[in-house]
């Protein structure tokens, strides 16, 4: 299972990469591995605003549909439309292929997320 060092993670296996008051959000390797062949990605609209832990989209494999939640509150600045055309990009590289770019509404919420080391430990406990 790949875990990237410079990202933060949620218990639902989303990742967030922070750059100033903006951040990219996607699903972690564990999530795509568990789901299997991903055949559909649902993304929000630009300018949509979501609260922390609110579902902003969904990722669906042949067998299952998974809601994807906001790691922190924020406003959608960009969506990765390439995922709508080729959902399997999330299987190929779930870190390269982010889902949304957001503007953070409350950067202090980042403190409650897991860093790579804590997330690796969390994965071991899950398994």
């Amino acid at each position: 299972m790949r875990v990237l060092k410079d990202l933060l993670y949620t218990k639902d296996h989303e990742w967030i990469k922070v750059d100033g008051n903006k951040a990219y959000v996607g699903v972690a390797d564990y999530a795509q591995e568990q789901l299997g062949d991903i055949v559909y990605v649902e993304l929000p609209d630009v300018d949509d605003e979501f609260e922390i832990e609110e579902a902003f989209g969904a990722v669906e494999s042949v067998k299952a549909a998974a809601d994807i939640y906001m790691p922190v509150s924020g406003k959608v600045l960009e969506i990765n439309e390439a995922l709508e055309d080729d959902p399997s990009l999330l299987n190929q590289d779930p870190y390269e292929n982010w889902m949304i770019l957001i503007e953070l509404s409350d950067a202090s919420q980042l403190d409650d997320l897991m860093n790579a080391k804590d997330y690796e430990k969390y994965l071991e406990e899950e398994a």
């Binding site: 299997g36 062949d37 559909y40 969904a58």
Partner: protein
């Protein structure tokens, strides 16, 4: 109840199968991936472990009469070595199970039933023996079974037997065939919409059969195939799965499988209820295609004219057809082809249109 292992469990682990608990059995949901396995079965070949299926032998002077009473299809027209798909119903028309019936001779039949229903079915069969001169025996624990499916199935199996397999026509079988040195019953049947065979032997013999077929099939592009694509394949081909398109609450008439219910047959369990339903059907399973974005999933509500009219029975992004399609149990007035309704996906209504539920037909 403790989860059981089929005789092929170790082979699945060796092949990297992702094991899940299905109907009380440890079975692979996939090896390489559902999409590639699905594709292999449609274009080349795939082999499935279906040893979890239940098998019941019915023997005796009145075996035929007993089965005519127990089952909805006409068993009387079968020749020896012929197979028929049929339902076994409750008096109210609900389905106990769907099954294959193999006629060995007038006094000997093999019934192949769903793993999840085996105990319930066997009890139902026993309870209905009544005065019939028959013995029903649950031989599930002694039988291993694989399904070899796909356009290359006959070429592959021919390498392992001297039998002329083209003599075995669709829904026919042959007993005591030598497959790679193991004595098997081979039928030209399946659950994928493709040509292929289902192969039965002892739990000891099935490991050799499995491995021999995988080896013989290598040059023909065979892949081991898991439960995941078994469901997408059967779904595309319009074949029902117990608990989805048919169930204790969904009769074969409502499910749209009237062809396998011979309403003009002498008395059989469920006949009166099914005849009445056929004259006045209130709900029906339909096929539909999503016109908007999303994937319909089992249990999603179906709405029209401002009210709930049913729910999704099975739904997928169909791998061969590349469409988001499903089956749904809906009020009968919404069952005509071309009718539009909406499927609720994550609380949003998405437009859908009723289409033929045999989504995929082999060329």
């Amino acid at each position: 109840m403790e989860t059981k292992k089929t005789p092929l469990y170790d082979e699945h682990v060796k092949l990297g199968g992702k094991i899940v608990d299905y109907a009380g059995w440890f079975l692979p949901v996939q090896y390489e991936g559902i999409l590639v396995e699905h594709e292999a079965v449609r274009t080349k070949a795939g082999i499935f472990d279906v040893s979890h299926m239940g098998e019941v032998m019915v023997r005796g002077k009145e075996a035929l009469n007993y089965l005519q009473y127990l089952l909805t299809n006409d068993i009387g027209v079968l020749e020896n070595n012929q197979v028929v798909y049929t339902f076994m119903c409750y008096p109210d028309g609900g389905v106990v199970d769907d099954l294959l019936t193999y006629k060995i001779n007038d006094e000997e039949f093999l019934l192949v039933i769903n793993a999840s229903n085996t105990d319930k079915d066997f009890k139902w069969m026993q309870d209905n023996v009544k005065d019939f001169d028959v013995v029903v025996e649950n031989i599930s624990d002694k039988v291993g079974e694989v399904a070899l499916q796909g356009p290359n199935a006959e070429k592959i199996l021919s390498k392992l037997t001297d039998e002329n397999l083209s003599d075995i026509k669709f829904f026919h079988f042959k007993k005591d065939i030598n497959v790679a040195g193991t004595k098997c019953l081979v039928s030209r049947t399946g659950y994928t919409g493709e040509d292929g065979f289902e192969i039965y032997t002892s739990t000891d013999g099935i490991v050799n059969v499995w491995n021999s077929i995988l080896e013989a099939g290598e040059e023909y592009g065979i892949k081991p195939a898991g439960l995941g694509c078994r469901d997408t394949l059967r779904f595309e081909a319009g074949l029902p799965l117990y608990g989805h398109e048919i169930s204790q609450d969904i009769s074969p008439i409502q499910g749209g499988f009237k062809f396998f219910v011979k309403l003009d047959k002498d008395d059989f369990i469920g006949k009166d209820a099914l005849v009445a339903q056929n004259e006045n059907i209130t709900k029906k399973v339909v096929g539909f295609e999503l016109l908007g974005k999303g994937i319909p999933r089992e249990g999603y509500d179906v709405v029209a004219d401002g009210k709930k009219i049913g729910y999704v029975a099975t739904g997928y992004f169909a791998p061969t057809l590349k469409k988001n399609i499903g089956t749904a149990l809906v009020d009968a007035e919404y069952s005509k082809k071309g009718t539009e309704f909406e499927v609720m996906i994550r609380n949003k209504p998405v437009k859908a249109k009723v289409i033929d539920k045999r989504f995929y037909k082999r060329k």
